[in-house]
Symmetry: C2
Subunit: 195 residues, 2 copies
């Protein structure tokens, strides 16, 4: 899902650069803007009392994120952070909602987007809860591989990030990856993971 940049600018949107690691919005913060990535990558995550992180998802070029609270008057359930240097275009909540009212076709696209998100969250939950480390890791790899069954591709995540997404610890991920390599479920060359 991606709104036309000209349209956004016409409605008064502004672009902003976020450095890698910079926070875009905070868990429990009020939702005042629609955000769309022009270029870069954003991570949404939670942190528990013991400081352990859980990654809710990643968003890339052209994708919007953090929309649900705009529709339902809730606070953000997670924190959003620039995962790399990222250029984001933002529009105020009320103008965004006006665009939706004005263009039913766009509203429909967002409906589809929300449906897509629910679907993938349901799949992610079921893949993480009640499952072995290897299963969780493979599920994670699968969600971000387009051409399933194709040649193994480099997995562009650190072991720590894999851990954060799967709810495991780094060491557990490393040991699981080792076993998966032996079982030929993945490739590891020079510390790099291919799947």
């Amino acid at each position: 899902m991606q709104l036309d940049l000209d349209l956004l600018y016409t409605w008064g949107a502004i672009a902003k650069e976020y450095k890698k690691g910079e926070i875009i919005f905070d868990e429990d913060g009020l939702a005042n803007f629609y955000y769309q990535i022009v270029e870069g990558c954003v991570k949404m995550f939670n942190t528990n009392d013991k400081g352990k992180e859980f990654t809710q998802g990643y968003f890339f070029d052209g994708q919007s994120f953090g929309e649900p609270p705009l529709f339902i008057d809730e606070r953000y359930p997670s924190t959003a952070m620039a995962f790399q240097d990222t250029r984001i275009i933002k529009l105020t909540k009320d103008k965004f909602l006006k665009i939706l009212d004005e263009y039913p076709a766009i509203q429909k696209q967002f409906l589809n987007l929300m449906a897509q998100r629910i679907h993938s969250k349901a799949v992610t939950s079921k893949d993480i809860i009640n499952q072995s480390p290897a299963f969780r890791i493979l599920a994670f790899f699968n969600t971000r591989k387009k051409n399933k069954g194709g040649a193994p591709e480099l997995v562009p995540f650190t072991r720590q990030e894999i851990a954060n997404f799967t709810g495991l610890r780094v060491e557990t991920v490393i040991r699981a990856l080792g076993k998966m390599h032996v079982e030929k479920k993945i490739e590891i060359k020079n510390h790099k993971i291919y799947y």
Copy 2:
């Protein structure tokens, strides 16, 4: 979210009774209908290879369920089962989508509903993953208590159901509940839980 019954019947919807335990649709099945509960309760869940169940959610009187796949041409990520004897009204996918096209106000309501669902799934994930049994259980209780902070209410779920929702085992739930009782986080009278 709930569509007007007259409207549904006008468009050719039909009502159907499901006995407790009856399957309404299966994980990986095609999505051909819009479902709305007239009276009763429906549980959505997954089962892993070892037969362990994970409850994705419960739906009650007046609520619709299983909509996302209708919008995005995906299969059901979970199974839906009547949790009690339940009367459900169903409408074919194409007619449902036509209603949305015809009534932008309804489309908007569904957009809000989907946003609500994403929000609660995000909250549920963060509450379950990386947390202690007691924390998970309390989070579960909180999601289904309207008047937070009010007098303790009877929790209408068996320990097995609590386990299924929190990704724990029955025995773990029982032991955690015992400890929570001692710590006065919950009430237990005659095996019944109050929170």
